[in-house]
């Protein structure tokens, strides 16, 4: 869910969405100044990487740093098509079951050994090995076989048609066979001192303080202009923001209030550049569909009408996001713009509740049915103020519709284990990170409702089940599009979740860095091409 690299790959075209930074100023950025080598980029992070072997890591910090050290076979281009990374080209058989990758020649690991198809094979064998504690096996156990045809040709064969197959090879599974063969990958120092072939090389990692990467002068895609990348760990967001102003940090992610208010000063306009693009995730309120009240579709629809999504976006996110209408990000190909939208309508909500038998008989402002007042609790996880604020606004809105809502925030582990997994909730506010591939079988299929599985709201619709099955076995995009459009129509009608919002990512970068080209996949994809003109360079590197 947090896999940073995969998550970069997942990003898809959001055609009309604003990548303006401060409206259009980003556009004058690229051309200015001659590219020069040198200087260092200091990136602030709340979390510290745990391990730099991508397949073993579960946290986004690890994936962010490891993504600069390793490469995949393919990656997403700025137009969101799949383009080659370590693979020069590939052929897909007509039935979609066989993919043959032709690898780039002359690529070297940073210890000088040549990269070959054996390394891809080794990585694949490692990830499917039972002894490798990785959560990312799923895509790779779909394979029937993998073969090394020659030093630079790698072929994979699938058991059944598997739509996400090609994109899964963009994940960072490739490992240097000559260093790791026959060794227990969890036990050796490699994870803290990895050898990759990516744009940067690990120089030093000081626990709790910083990870320092130096540029790979022999990077196959051209030496990065920036000589040093420093991933600085500052656990407190307020301190990080102060470090940004004091010059101790060059780049960080801003909170909505920092983006809209605190950086709206001359100092920031002069020294920094802000960017903004939608994150591939959404926040939702999910109902426990086993609960007698929420079994009634009219009640769920009424609640959807009683909540004003754009108000939540404006107040909680300071407008830095967009209302969600389904489980896909607006302007991506699986997104269906024509589903039922539930614009805020209190009258409609009251009417639907009345039809479902909820009336305010005793006149105390809260609806009753069979003598019981309509009162339920929204659970969410502690520490996520965006979700807690959202819940508070929903509480206020639903009170107007005659529903009393309690909000309770619980520590993450307890929340998941004791409440979500055991189905001890009435409604939850949570979020899903989503991929470029629209397959959401695990979230909506009625066969995925057991403890620890992800359809914890117990959604069950035979038509959706059939569509989900069909969608992951179809390659034709137009066909798949129809399938997922239909799923969204059904979900919008049945409201198992109330889809709340899709947030924006809001990074800020010191303006001496040039060559940043905002794109639908964010800004980090062309980091090796960022540069600082000689005159503006701040950190002198001892060469």
């Amino acid at each position: 869910m947090n896999k940073k690299r995969a998550y970069l790959l997942y990003l898809i075209l959001a055609a009309s969405v604003i990548f303006t930074g401060i409206e259009g100023r980003a556009a004058d950025n690229p051309g200015s100044g001659q590219p020069a080598y040198g200087d260092a980029l200091i990136v602030g992070s709340i979390g510290e990487p745990s391990i730099l072997v991508p397949m073993l890591a579960g946290d986004s910090a690890s994936h962010e740093v490891a993504g600069l050290i390793f490469n995949g076979l393919v990656k997403y281009g700025t137009d969101l098509s799949i383009i080659g990374d370590l693979a020069e080209s590939w052929d897909i058989s007509a039935d979609g079951l066989v993919i043959t990758f032709h690898l780039k020649k002359g690529v070297k690991w940073t210890d000088g050994v040549e990269f070959t198809a054996d390394d891809v094979m080794f990585g694949y064998k490692t990830i499917i090995d039972d002894k490798t504690p990785t959560p990312y096996k799923e895509d790779y156990i779909q394979l029937k076989k993998a073969e090394v045809l020659d030093r630079h040709t790698f072929r994979v064969t699938y058991q059944k048609p598997f739509a996400p197959a090609l994109s899964s090879w963009g994940n960072l599974v490739i490992l240097p066979r000559h260093l790791l063969e026959g060794k227990d990958i969890t036990k050796i120092d490699f994870a803290r001192k990895p050898t990759g072939m990516g744009p940067f090389i690990l120089n030093r990692w000081t626990s709790g303080q910083e990870v320092i990467l130096d540029s790979n002068k022999n990077y196959f895609d051209g030496r990065p202009f920036i000589d040093r990348y420093i991933y600085k760990i500052i656990p407190d967001p307020a301190t990080m923001f102060l470090e940004l102003q004091a010059g101790g940090v060059d780049m960080m992610g801003l909170t909505p209030i920092q983006y809209t208010k605190q950086t709206d000063t001359d100092f920031f306009r002069k020294n920094f550049q802000k960017y903004r693009y939608p994150v591939f995730s959404y926040t939702y309120m999910g109902f426990n569909l086993k609960h007698p009240w929420f079994k009634d579709r009219r009640v769920r629809q009424a609640i959807a009408y009683a909540i004003d999504k754009s108000e939540i976006v404006d107040v909680v996110l300071f407008g830095l996001g967009s209302p969600a209408t389904g489980p896909y990000v607006p302007n991506t190909w699986p997104y269906n713009p024509d589903v039922k939208k539930y614009e805020y309508n209190l009258e409609k909500a009251k009417k639907l509740l009345g039809e479902a038998g909820w009336t305010d008989a005793d006149g105390d402002g809260t609806l009753e049915k069979d003598g019981r007042p309509f009162e339920f609790t929204i659970l969410t996880n502690q520490g996520n103020s965006l979700r807690i604020n959202t819940a508070t606004i929903i509480q206020w809105r639903l009170a107007k519709a005659g529903i009393k809502v309690n909000v309770r925030a619980i520590e993450w582990s307890t929340f998941i284990n004791e409440f979500v997994d055991k189905r001890r909730f009435e409604a939850v506010i949570l979020g899903w990170s989503i991929g470029i591939d629209p397959d959401q079988y695990d979230i909506w299929h009625s066969g995925k409702t057991k403890e620890k599985e992800f359809n914890f709201v117990s959604y069950n619709n035979p038509e959706v089940d059939a569509l989900l099955e069909k969608g992951r076995r179809t390659f034709n995009i137009e066909e798949r599009k129809k399938t997922y459009y239909r799923i969204q129509e059904i979900l919008a009608e049945e409201v198992p979740y109330i889809f709340l919002y899709v947030p924006d990512a809001t990074p800020i970068v010191h303006s001496r860095f040039k060559g940043i080209m905002p794109s639908p996949i964010g800004i980090g994809y062309n980091l090796p091409k960022w540069h600082v003109p000689k005159a503006l360079q701040k950190h002198m590197m001892a060469q």
């Binding site: 301190t239 102060l242 101790g248």
Partner: protein, 332 residues
């Protein structure tokens, strides 16, 4: 004396086992498992994969068996490997012998707290003594208000204000961390100065907010002593007030401070989560908090056990300190 020491050390063993047993059960009572970080709400992970992970970590066994296995290893001073994805040995996380001394977590927290404790004592003792000898004077009132302002001040708030003033408005002091970007390229003397500069704000905040307890303790302890008969006697013999206070009274008034020092040992090694997070100091508080949040049982147990051992040793040292300072106790 030697027998006494031996007896005390032997007594520590059952205490320690009791502490670890209770800690072990309590942390396992908390809902959630170490595999949650990798596996929770990740649609890419199947139930079989989750079971494999749990088996891999030995979490499928009964809790008594798990404790037995843990104890067996700890007797050999092996705290096992952390459950976090990096699988590093617990001891390496607390005391990483591959890093220079100055970068080891336990050392960082210990030195920082020791420095601040030292500064607190240096300032708190004169304040306490003077407010006792000048009880209810204007000076007493002012210092009381002053130390209580420090006590009541939220440390994170004070820290942020100071960072803004010294770090951004004047750019005199660094904001967070332990050393500068260009630390490696500095000559030795400047390296020391660089580290010192980074410590000024954290130690000031920690000392200012901790001043109240020790100075009030000193004040009441002193007040008690100067009311005693032998002080009256000393004054009656015509000794100068200075000698009465600093030679006769202070010695006895300092005895309770030894207890206070013994009690502060857990704080010395435990660190503070809020404080370390604000200043970006990679100490024990951060490590412990993160390990509890991810249910990293071996790391939690490792830190608790090391903490318990050091606390028990601290108590022992305090008792020994008493014996050295107070003849009445030594006689027993």
């Amino acid at each position: 004396m030697i027998t006494y020491l031996f007896k005390r050390l032997l007594e520590m063993v059952p205490t320690l086992i009791g502490i670890t047993l209770i800690s072990f059960f309590i942390i396992h009572l908390a809902p959630g498992k170490p595999t949650d970080v990798l596996a929770e709400l990740n649609p890419k992970i199947t139930p079989e994969a989750r079971e494999k992970l749990e088996k891999y970590y030995g979490l499928d066994k009964p809790i008594m068996v798990q404790y037995g296995m843990w104890l067996k290893r700890v007797v050999k001073f092996d705290f096992g490997e952390s459950f976090s994805t990096d699988r590093r040995p617990v001891m390496e996380k607390i005391w990483d012998t591959k890093q220079p001394l100055l970068e080891r977590r336990l050392f960082i927290t210990f030195m920082l707290n020791l420095l601040s404790l030292f500064i607190i004592l240096i300032i708190a003792m004169p304040i306490g003594i003077a407010s006792a000898t000048h009880q209810y004077s204007l000076y007493d009132k002012i210092t009381t208000v002053f130390v209580f302002i420090g006590f009541a001040m939220p440390s994170f708030w004070l820290a942020l204000l100071l960072m803004m003033y010294f770090g951004i408005h004047h750019n005199w002091l660094p904001i967070s961390g332990l050393k500068s970007m260009n630390y490696e390229s500095l000559p030795l003397l400047e390296q020391i100065w660089d580290r010192g500069r980074h410590l000024i704000l954290p130690i000031f905040v920690s000392a200012f907010t901790g001043l109240a307890a020790d100075s009030r303790f000193m004040r009441s302890s002193m007040l008690e002593v100067i009311r005693q008969d032998y002080i009256t006697t000393a004054r009656a013999k015509g000794l100068p007030e200075r000698t009465v206070i600093y030679k006769h009274a202070l010695k006895n008034a300092l005895l309770p401070i030894i207890t206070l020092m013994g009690l502060s040992v857990p704080g010395l090694i435990g660190g503070s989560v809020i404080f370390e997070n604000i200043f970006g100091i990679p100490g024990m508080g951060q490590l412990f908090y993160a390990s509890v949040m991810t249910r990293d049982y071996p790391l939690v147990m490792g830190i608790l056990t090391v903490g318990a051992i050091l606390t028990l040793l601290g108590n022992l040292l305090a008792d020994l300190g008493y014996m050295i300072a107070d003849p009445r106790i030594r006689a027993k």
